[in-house]
Symmetry: C2
Subunit: 244 residues, 2 copies
């Protein structure tokens, strides 16, 4: 956690978040008002957080990773726009009447923590794709996988599988295999930086049977990605230009 | 900076980095041995850092943002592989004879800090592309821009322009405009979280004349990205499924 994120939590009287994440910082938020809701209750949670802030309380809406990457910061702005709540952006601006000041505090996104545990797979162009088709039609997701594979992006896959969504990852693998070698290094990171952390590097064509769940980030290398010992990395191109 | 990154710097006897970044943390590294080199001397710098570590010194190779995203972590592994230097990955593994232990400490990548200053443009699938053709052929870059635009990824553009590379950004804009509306919100962030920070949101078709340099991150919205007051955000899709 950065110092700014810690300070924002400490300054807040109200903490809103997904139950699992609230539990992770229990010791830090003792005595504060808590708005904790489960999965699929994101809209209720964000509305409750906005209402708390409108009532004059400082409210920290927490995420794991970065709050702006596949997370709640967008929904805050979407709801404020829908309800036409005036919002100030910076600490220099006064809080508008009947309005809010919103600060998005960046964090270490899952893509960066997963990459760091694998080595350095993201040192060149990459695309991030969520395989969850709860809010996005599958044909849009499939087109993104196809285009990312075609253009030789390193591909970061979020939400690869859940109990109910069990076929999307295999389908993604099949699409990528049209453009990449079967042995393309593919990193699998479960529970990055948490209990039960698990890191492995497998060939792309083993992805369909890999041990993967909702809390797993998958990183498929591009055509130049390589492994060395227990590491996976993507060259930036220095070896083409310099001798070493 | 995270606590882990701060601790890694404090524990190190040698600090290696691009001169500009070394200067940014001068107060923290007083009295330490410094390996500072300028741009285009990345290979020399990393080799010097590896040599220092092989001589038994703890060495911190610093980056701004995240060291694994378009940064030096990959080059460390590439050079270790080339020179067949044995490398241990975790603190639990013993340091191999004539070898190293490498820990990649994740940071807040520029894409996350830029996004946080704009609002929440990255709450859905996105692609990151560097426009620098120093190490990557332009046709590869152009194909990536085309595919990312075609698949409606939010597009994060790094290294948009320098004194010598002055036509790539306009070309990128023209390609993206084949697939997206002229008024697609486009965020421009210079010197994120540093002196002379500058944040603006413009329509996509104004990108060619925008004030942009090497230290600028550009984020082009997807077909659903929107603005509200001074913010830019990309909906995740909640409003299609829930009333609010």
């Amino acid at each position: 956690m950065t110092r700014r994120a810690g300070a924002a939590i400490d300054e807040a009287g109200v903490i809103a978040g997904y139950t699992t994440y609230v539990d992770l910082i229990q010791d830090r938020i003792k005595g504060k008002e808590i708005i904790a809701t489960t999965m699929k209750k994101e809209v209720d949670r964000v509305i409750a957080a906005i209402d708390a802030a409108l009532s004059g309380k400082k409210c920290a809406l927490i995420s794991s990773g970065d709050p702006g990457i596949y997370a709640m910061a967008g929904l805050v702005l979407e709801i404020c726009r829908q309800k036409q709540i005036p919002v100030a952006r910076t600490a220099c601006d006064p809080v508008p009447e009947n309005g809010l000041r919103v600060e998005v505090v960046p964090g270490i996104p899952a893509l960066a923590s997963a990459a760091s545990l694998l080595g350095a797979p993201l040192t060149h162009d990459f695309a991030c794709i969520s395989l969850s088709d709860l809010l996005t039609p599958w044909d849009v997701i499939e087109k993104r996988i196809e285009c990312a594979a075609m253009a030789d992006f390193v591909i970061v896959i979020f939400n690869p599988k859940s109990r109910k969504r069990n076929w999307q990852l295999q389908k993604a693998m099949e699409i990528i295999l049209k453009y990449r070698d079967a042995d393309t290094p593919t990193g699998i990171v479960q529970n990055a930086m948490r209990d039960r952390q698990n890191v492995s590097i497998i060939p792309l064509n083993g992805l369909d049977t890999a041990d993967v769940d909702m809390l797993t980030t998958v990183i498929v290398g591009n055509s130049t990605s390589n492994t060395y010992l227990d590491f996976m990395y993507t060259p930036r191109g220095y070896s083409e230009k310099y001798d070493f």
